[in-house]
Structure formats: structure tokens, C-alpha cells
Amino acid sequence: MTIFRIIIIGLLGAMMGVLHAKPFIPSQDDQVLEKLPLKLFQSTTSKKIQSLRRQLKTNPNDWPSVSQLAQYYIELSKTFADPRYMGYAQTILNPWLENSKPLAQALVLRAVIRQNAHDFSGAMMDLDQVLGVQSNHVQANLIKATIASVQGEYSLSIQHCRRLMRRSLILALVCQSTPASLSGNAEISYQMLHQIMLTETRLSKQQLVWAWTSFAEIAWRLGYFEAANLHFQTALQMEVQDYYLLRMYADFLLQQRRPVDVIRLISVDTQNDSLLLRLALAEKITRSKKLSDHVFLLNERFLLNRQRGSAFHKGDEARFHLYLLNQPQEALKLSQQNWRVQREPTDTYILLKSAIAAHDLKTIAEVKRWLTVHGTEDVLIEEILATQEGKNNEI
């Protein structure tokens, strides 16, 4: 019997009372119950959304308004990492997807929504329908390249990145840097990005964040830690709310044994499960008093996600089980399920670490084979395999 588990469960039980306060009747009329981040931080967007909603009530068949509103919702879902906005977008798009020849843009938007619900095959179907008619469709190619790269289909990904060349050489090069770096061309990709990023002026702020983040990740995998740190910092200085960047930088800091910086980076944002997980991992290293509260919160969120059938971030859940609950078998199960759906480097790390912790040699061999086939160069994977410990870094 694992005593650690008993203590954790005991702690969780004890805290139930604290976090689930009883329902109450507020004593003062002007007591603020909830703040609406959309109105507070994005008042322009909020006003535009309100006016678009009003417009659509009087004229529901106006596609430009529908498309614009859907894009706002998708953008907000990204900004706040909040799935309900994706739901709103899906709802207003649905009537436009019911006829036999939906508009390309409607299909692309649905592909984005499906991609975010981790319905990759659904998204691919929408994209193929668009690409069947317009093979050089920029957005469709870019999303398809992204999904292919996430799934470890690097040559397919590169192929679709290249179709962007005629429209934007830079976009195409940044797009292909990630899949190329994961399939045997890490150093070349890095040098190429280096050239581009030094002189680049044509990308938007958001595109720059994306490019610098990709750049940082490639540097990290090559073991250029100082450069990676600088690139992450440059991306952060764009001051664009980007959860993917925060997630990756937090992972980088954890791997670099800089838990205090992780806490400084995330500290207040406990609404976001992925960031909360990284915060808790850092707190475990610093032995913070807040750790038990955060472990409880995470446990509850993962449980709820399972109950409602939206346990999408199984990679994170696996890390939670491996590092915070010390349950390697459960972690292995989850990271295997996760790897069947997506194969980003972080997905591979947790699978390897769980397999090592659970002494599953077959899985280790299978992952190694896969990495060799693709010629993936990654100092982190080398480090994980070299130590065969599985517990030195909480990434």
C-alpha cells in the first residue's frame, strides 16, 4: 500500500471542505460575484461581438458577419484558453455547413474547431475537402501541416508547408522548420530560422510569437539552452497572450531546474489546467505550501474532464500521475493513449518517462525505433534515455 497515496488522498479529503465552500446568500447587494474578463480586458472586441450578435439577430443569413463573429470566438477561446467560445463558434457555423457544398472558409473554421477538440481526423476531412478544390489554400495548408506535424507525419507536414511558398515564403519556412527539425534537419532548420528572424519585418506580432517559439523549441532540442532562453524571452516580449508559449517556456524552465522562474511566470493563472500543472511541478521542487491545494485542484479538474467526456490533455494528466501522485502505471496508460493521438516532443518525453518508471521495456524500444526512423535529434530524449531514471526532471 502506498503511504504517499494515502496521505495525498487524506489531504485531498481534508481540503474538500475548504475549496467547496457552502452555497451562501451574499450579504451586500453591491457584492461582486464574478468579473467578466472579456469586457474588462478586451472591451473593443466585446463591443464588436455584441454588435455582431445584434446584427445576426436581425439578419441571420449574413455570412460575412457569421464568419467574423466565429473568428472572434475562436480567437477568444485561444486568448482565454476557454472551450466555451469554440462551442459558440461551432453553433453559429453549423447552419452554413449543412448544405452539400459548404463555403471553403466555413470548412476551414470548423477544421480549427475540430483540431482544438483534438478531433484530428474530422479536421483533416474538412481540410481535404477544401484542398480538393483549392490545393493552394493558405489557411487549409497551414492547418493541415500543423496537424500532420503534431501527429508525427513530418514529410506530409513539410509537403503542405511548401505549398505556402508562392503566397508567403517566410510563412512557409517557419511552418516547415518544426517538422524538418524533428526529422533529421534540426541544425539546418535552426540556421535558416536564424537568418529569417534576424531580418524579418513582415510578420505580424502573433506570427512573430509563433516563429520565435518554434525557434526556441528547436534551439532547446539542439541543446542550445542559452539561445533557447533568449528566443523564448523575445517571444514573451511581444506581449501577446499565448498559452502555448507559456506552456513551452514553463517546460523549458522546469527542464533547466529553474522552478522559481516557473512560479514567477505562472503564479496567478490557476484557471488554466496546463499552466496549473506546471506550477504544481515547480512547487513540488521548491516544496511550496501551495502544492497540496494545487494538486487537489488538478485532481478535481482531471476528474471532471473525464466525467464530462473531454479528457483531451492526457499527456498533462499522465505527468500529473507520474510526478505528483507517483503512479507510474496510470501515467503509462494515459501517455500511451495520448501518443496514439498526438506525438509532439512533450508527448514523447512523458511516454518515455512513464515507460521507464513503469519498467515497460517494450514501449521504450518502440519509441526509440520511431525516433530512429524519423531521425529525430533531441538532447532531452538522449538525456531521458541516458539516465533511464525517469524522475530527474518534471517535464
Binding site: F4, L33, R84, G87, Q90, Q139, S310
Partner: protein, 374 residues
């Protein structure tokens, strides 16, 4: 042009997981005779989108605004939830509106009773709140009837469900808890070791003049009976106190004290320091072991209605398990007591091993150490 830039941005992220908690409402129905007591927690942010709560449009929802909008909220949500008894519609009586903080923000708590005028045997629930706005919304329903709790998640694909209630089978539940009790005493090595260590000296013990065997079977029986009874009375007492939540001790303290009790009685077998008072020791530490049992019972999904039956069943199960062990132990010990094996190996070496194990337990539990990790 603007829309194009946005779209490009959207696709740059490899994977945005659903990081934030999604939209859920929590619906709890408690069915009792003719009534259904309902608590329904709905996120203020969802209500803001569907009905509009921020009357003064300043980005903050106050208690006053929520109260002002309650009629519209009720009209909206009750047109999307239907709870029916088999014999027909139930009459709704609203109770005061409340607020609760969940991990992702404030929720309106709608409390109401449904009077269904006849004994409820079948409940039909139809739920479609927010599905027309947000297909990722889910309705999480808990429905309780006596000791049964059912859990269902409503989604656009599952908007209706019905429950048939059978008369709760107390006997089945009782048997289930007896089994749990037996299983727990057998699987909980610490309780077992404690008891066996206490019983070992009843047939043969070390004294100042060497090993003394107890020849009188009746006297052995009497001693064993006293120890087992004292242990049983004590842990039944604290088990009940803890389950009824009259007394609550931190589990770390309880678990450490249990490990400590094993160390103590094992030492006593090598270097005796209590003899006739063994039953007092059994009683004193039995009180602590009772709290240990209670933590197990906690995890077994107790419901208020069936508390008595479950507690009794679990307790009897523990006693039954204990009795079986004693009835195997006693003849065996009686038969072996004069042999060197019993005195040297079982009593001496065995006790040393037990001290070692329980000391590790104690250190793990008291100082939160994890030996197997190192």
C-alpha cells in the same frame, strides 16, 4: 483583410488543449417519497451569455444584478429542464437563490422542491440547457434515492434519461459492508500484526526465569478473549465516533500511531514490560485503530440513509475477520508453544522483523518519507 489576419493567427498553435474548465452545470436531485429536492448550480458566465446579467455593462456581475435578472433566468432555464414523475408533472416550489464559488468562478445556485403528489417510482429528466448556444456544454446530474446515487452527463447527444427506483435492498448493502470489513482486516497488515503480536505471549512468554508455557487452555482462552474483546470494543467505539463525524483526527497522526502501536507490542514480545495489562494496551490502541478503519469506510461511498446499516455491517465484518484469524492462530500457537521454533523464531526473530517493518511504516507515515522512491 482584418478577418484574414485573425484567421492566420488561429492556426499557428500546434495544439490548444481545453485548458480552462469548460461550461458545466451541476444538477443534484434527491428523491424522497413524494418529493424531489433539487440543487442546480449554473455558471454566472454562461448565464451572462445566454440571458445577460451585467445590467450596467461594467464587466462585473453583482448580487443585485443577479437578483434583478432572476425572473428571466428562471424562465430561461426552466424551459430547458423537465423533471417528471411517471404519473405526471410535479409542482415546483422555489427556495431562496444562493451563490457558490466553484474552481472556475461563481455559480448561481437554484434551490427548489418538486412536489409530485404521489410516491415517486420513476423519474424522467429532460435537459437541454445551453446546448443551442454551446455544444461543448454538459449537464452533470447526480440523482439520489436512499442509498443509491446515479451519475449521468447530459450532452447534445444525450438529453433525456429516466430512472426507476427499486426498493433499496438493505440486506445486500449490509452484506457488502461485512465483506468490506473482513477484507480490510485481512489486507490491513498493520491491524493484523498488532493483534497477533499481542496474542503471541498468551501461550508462551519470556520471564526472568526463562520461557514459561501456559498449560491451561481455559486460561489461554480467557486471556485471548479479554484482549480481543478489549480491542473490539475500543475500535468499534472510535469507528462509530469518526464515521458520525463527532471526532476527527488527522490521518497522518492516526496512521503513525497505528505503526507505533505495532512497534510497542512487538518489543514487548522480546523484552516484556506489560503482561497482565495486555488487554489495557489492546483497548488503548484499539481506540486509534478504530480511526484507521473509519478512513476506509469514508472511501466506500456512505450515504446518510444507510449509515447505520453500513457501519454495523463493516464493524461485524472486521470482527468476523478477526475471529477467523484468532481461531486459526489459537490452536496452532497452542500446539507449537513448547517448541524451540515458537519461542526463538516466532517470538524473537519474528518480533524483530515486525519491529523493523513497523518502524519503517512509522517513519513513512510520521515524516511523510517515501522509501521505495529512493
Amino acid at each position: 483583410m482584418k478577418s484574414k489576419t485573425i484567421l492566420i493567427v488561429l492556426m499557428l498553435l500546434p495544439t490548444i488543449a481545453w485548458c480552462h474548465k469548460a461550461s458545466d452545470s451541476f444538477l443534484t436531485l434527491t428523491v424522497e417519497k413524494n418529493y424531489i429536492f433539487v440543487r442546480w448550480d449554473i455558471s454566472l458566465r454562461d448565464l451572462e451569455y445566454a440571458v445577460g446579467l451585467d445590467v450596467d455593462d461594467n464587466g462585473a456581475i453583482t448580487w443585485k444584478e443577479l437578483q434583478e435578472r432572476i425572473n428571466d433566468i428562471e424562465t430561461y432555464v426552466f424551459s430547458r429542464l423537465q423533471v417528471k414523475n411517471r404519473s405526471g408533472e410535479c409542482y415546483r416550489e422555489m427556495l431562496p437563490l444562493q451563490v457558490d464559488h466553484h474552481t472556475d468562478g461563481a455559480y448561481a445556485v437554484l434551490n427548489f422542491n418538486l412536489d409530485c403528489s404521489s410516491l415517486i417510482e420513476q423519474v424522467d429528466v429532460k435537459y437541454r440547457l445551453f446546448f443551442d448556444l454551446d455544444p461543448t456544454h454538459r449537464g452533470l446530474l447526480h440523482i439520489r434515492n436512499n442509498d443509491n446515487t446515479e451519475f449521468v452527463v447530459f450532452s447534445p447527444d444525450l438529453q433525456q434519461i429516466n430512472f426507476t427506483f427499486m426498493k433499496s435492498n438493505r440486506w445486500q448493502r449490509f452484506r457488502q459492508f461485512v465483506t468490506e470489513g473482513v477484507r480490510h482486516i485481512w489486507a490491513g497488515y498493520d491491524h493484523l500484526l498488532f493483534l497477533i503480536c499481542l496474542l503471541l505471549p498468551s501461550v508462551a512468554r519470556k520471564t526472568s526465569v526463562g520461557w514459561v508455557q501456559n498449560e491451561n487452555f481455559i486460561s489461554i482462552l480467557w486471556q485471548v478473549g479479554r484482549i480481543v474483546t478489549a480491542f473490539t470494543v475500543a475500535h468499534s467505539l472510535t469507528l462509530a465516533l469518526a464515521v458520525l463525524q463527532w471526532v476527527n483526527l488527522p490521518s497522518r497522526l492516526v496512521e503513525s500511531a497505528i505503526a507505533f502501536s505495532v512497534i510497542l507490542v512487538a518489543i514487548n514480545n522480546i523484552q516484556p514490560f506489560f503482561r497482565e495489562q495486555a488487554w489495557c494496551v489492546a483497548f488503548a490502541f484499539g481506540l486509534i485503530h478504530g480511526f484507521g478503519f473509519a478512513s476506509v469506510l469514508d472511501s466506500l461511498n456512505l450515504t446518510a440513509g444507510a449509515l447505520g446499516v453500513s457501519l454495523l455491517g463493516f464493524n461485524l465484518g472486521v470482527e468476523l475477520g478477526q475471529l477467523i484469524i484468532v481461531s486459526i492462530f489459537l490452536p496452532l500457537a497452542y500446539f507449537l508453544r513448547s517448541y524451540w521454533f515458537y519461542q526463538r523464531i516466532l517470538m524473537q526473530a519474528g518480533s524483530f522483523v515486525i519491529i523493523l517493518i513497523s518502524t519503517i511504516w512509522f517513519l513513512q507515515r510520521a515524516f511523510d518519507l517515501n522509501f521505495y522512491q529512493i
